[in-house]
Amino acid sequence: MAENSITHQSHRKTLKLIKLQEQLTGYLFILPALIIILIFGIFPIGYSIYMSLFNWQVTKGPFIGDKNYLLIFGSWWNLLVLVAGIGLLILGSLVWGKAFQSMKSGQRLAHIAGALVLILGGVIFVTGWGMMYESGNKDFLNSLIVTVYYALGTVPAEIIIGLVLAYILYQDIIGKEAFRMIYFLPYITPSISSAVVFQIIFSSRETSLANRILALFGADPLKWRFEPRPVLKLLGINVSGLAGGPSLALLTIIIFGIWSFVGYNTVIFLSGLGNIPKEIYEAAEIDGGSKWDRFWHITIPMISPVTFYLTLIGFIGTFKAFNHIYVMRTPSAQNSVVTTSLLVFDRFYKANQYGVATAQAIVLFVIILGLTLAQNKIMGERVFYG
């Protein structure tokens, strides 16, 4: 009996040792990657935060605490109001969908309460934004709006066009391999060189390709990359502020962004389509489902993990986008194409205000992080993993 106990204890010890060895081996395997991430990923972020707390221009100046951040927000109170507004918007959406479920007329009550909270959140958010706009850095806040325009202009279009192209290429059409390659080409073309080609296509010259196409429809030539006025204004709709929409110059860059990334999305969607079991389609066909039904009720839900991934990557990418926007921007377009990445770059390399630039970069980083988390929460719940 005692012998058994000793054997059992020894066996447990051995198991523990093996487990420990396994743990150590695991850590050793991830150690090189961890070191690289710490040095090249985490350390720069930490150092940027450190720099943002100093009056760091050409040389490191005195410690100024939160002053570089206050230049952006005007005051912490402004930020607090804005964040409270966002918090209420989130709360409102939760109330809308989840509150009073146990009550008889709970859904109706939830919708009423949710709507009230949402409206209150919207008003507080707008108030916070207005206060920030009044006393904070207008250039930075404008650049956020431009960035949002750019993201909303490119990501949904890239997703929709990518999905449609992938669906077409997934069918049995002749030369689909060649088409796959053609669609993928823009993605692997260096963005600088393709942006230069777009510069020529969307030149404001009367004889530019874009203007020649317009001329076919009897339209007057446009200034494209040089046009700072909002597209809606050019169409005769006089709306100002955020509702004015992107400038024609930004739209040109959006077109370039879509052209560049749609091929990548297509290829990823194609791999997603390949993973959907054929039997499901066959069963739906036997049940009389039309092509549209099959697409809408099978394809869309089954590739939702891919859509989620591409949307997430797309939004992060658009908020960080730099190269092609830098190449395609013109002085004439003014700040209508200055996204936050460009603004930070200018502040860093042209004004040499490293403290201010790093503070702006950190704020951008936090926004991207927040958006990623929000997307993860909102879209992640809707993803169908089979």
Binding site: Q57, I119, W129, S204, T207, P331, S332, N335, N352, Q353
Partner: protein, 481 residues
């Protein structure tokens, strides 16, 4: 669920619209703040007086032995320029009596060099000689990182003689003396370019003129006539003719402001003067050209060269370094026309031409390295070497005496000779820290607003630009300890 989403989106949309209403549209700004004064030195930049007597104080350089090896960071590429640089360095290394060896290193373009310099200022890692624009060097000097050449330029043994100093074109020589830093000399010019007006002489003749314009009124008359009267030699039929194409570039802002008798900077008060009367007149003039259909914006990079070559553009204003490219553009399709360059039409008695170019500067290191670097800079900017370098690089030389050695170049390229004769009228853009930011973020947006909107209030726009530019300058100068 769908209804839920629609309602949710509707709420967000309402919020967005309210937000939109809060965000103000960009409008011509009215001045909102008084300009922030930068500490002003007491004197305007002056060409350093060469001394006539030996200094009475102890010579700090008497016991300094020049370093044996120094490094020069430059941006020059292309086989011709690289070969010229290599020869200049080789000759110096062979002939200098101090046994100094210069190692010339290509360190990227101007921007690359600037970005490489910033983290190593005031460390032993700095190169001994570095190429840089005056505003870049001014930025380095915010950290007190550059050697003041005034310490050596008049030195009896190592300095430049009075004749050597006076041989520089005055504008070029004064350009590296920075009023913001107590008139320290932070560089010496080895070459320069200049803004000139390119014109199509054959077209002018067709329009009934026998010479290019010298005044803004003549310029406008000819430009407006050209916009209505296509050139018979035009090769791109679909493009409409135009008198002038403006590129949104601060150097154009400077050129036209100078031509109207103004300046962009007050070197006594050390403040931008973007809203001077001359600037307002100049940009009201340019605005009128656009309003009357006589001018338009350049449509793509170097689009003015293309249009000029195609015979659809009568006048263009740009750098003299573009001379060969304009020549190529004119000759491109085999139907060349007579063209040349002239001074930018001016309201002043003499022309006033915008000159620019990078200089060679010496970062602070040790006296031995600084002295060796200075001796190389002195050699590099000497008349004979300067002539050699100018011929190879295509830039203008900085020494007046070089003209005698340039007859072959003048004979081969009359336009170059015309431009060369204008060098003595050179004036420069502000050599101040943060100037790149002012160029891109203040002046160029204002230029766009002026030409885009014929009703824009030029004075109000320039007033606000001046406030913004001086605020940026004050931010920059706040770094000086």
């Amino acid at each position: 669920m769908r209804r839920t989403s629609v309602l949710f989106v509707a709420v967000i949309l309402i919020a967005s619209l309210v937000l939109g209403a809060c965000a103000k549209a960009t409008e011509a700004p009215a001045p909102t703040e008084a300009p922030v004064k930068t500490e002003a030195p007491t004197e305007a930049p002056v060409v350093t007086e060469a001394p006539t007597e030996a200094p009475t104080e102890v010579d700090p350089w008497a016991d300094v032995v020049p370093a044996k090896e120094i490094v020069w960071w430059h941006q020059h590429t292309g086989s011709k320029r690289e070969a010229a640089i290599a020869k200049i360095v080789e000759d110096f290394n062979k002939t200098n009596p101090y046994g100094i060896t210069v190692k010339a290193e290509y360190a990227g373009d101007y921007g690359d060099i600037f970005n490489k310099m910033l983290p190593i200022l005031n460390t032993p890692d700095v190169p001994d000689v570095v190429v840089g624009y005056q505003n870049q060097v001014a930025t380095y000097q915010l950290a007190n990182a550059m050697f003041d050449m005034n310490e050596l330029i008049n030195h009896p043994k190592y300095g430049l003689t009075k004749e050597e100093q006076e041989d520089f074109f005055p504008g070029f020589f004064a350009q590296d003396v920075l009023s913001l830093f107590n008139n320290q000399r932070l560089g010496l010019a080895p070459n320069r370019s200049m803004e000139v007006m390119y014109y199509n002489m054959d077209w002018l003749k067709e329009l009934g003129y026998d010479a290019p314009p010298t005044t803004p009124e003549q310029f406008k008359e000819m430009a407006c006539k050209a916009a209505k009267t296509p050139f018979s030699g035009a090769t791109e039929g679909e493009a409409s003719p135009i008198g002038y194409e403006l590129s949104i570039d601060t150097s154009r802002f400077a050129s036209w402001t100078f031509a109207f008798g103004g300046d962009m900077f007050d070197y006594t008060a050390n403040q931008f003067t973007l809203n001077s009367d001359a600037a307002v007149q100049a940009w009201t003039f340019i605005q009128s050209l656009f309003a009357e259909g006589c001018a338009r914006l350049v449509t793509e990079n170097y689009g003015d060269q293309t249009d000029f070559g195609n015979g659809t553009l009568l006048f263009s204003v740009g750098s003299s370094s573009g001379l060969p490219y304009y020549g190529d553009a004119v000759a491109a399709d085999g139907t060349p026309f007579e063209w040349s360059v002239a001074a930018i039409p001016h309201t002043t008695p003499d022309p006033v031409q915008n000159v620019y170019g990078a200089s060679v500067s010496i970062p602070k290191s040790t006296p031995e390295r600084e002295l060796a670097a200075w001796l190389f800079v002195k050699y590099y900017t000497s008349a004979d070497v300067n002539a050699e370098w100018a011929k190879a690089s295509g830039y203008f030389p900085v020494k007046q005496s070089v003209a005698a050695k340039f007859q072959d170049v003048f004979d081969a390229n009359p336009a170059y000779k015309t431009a060369f004769d204008l060098l003595k009228f050179g004036k420069f853009e502000p050599p101040v820290p943060g100037y790149d930011f002012v160029r891109d973020n203040v002046i160029e947006p204002v230029m766009t607003n002026i030409v885009d909107d014929p009703t824009a209030d030029v004075k109000a726009l320039l007033d606000q630009a001046n406030i913004d530019a001086n605020a940026i300058l004050a931010e920059q100068m706040a770094q000086v300890k």
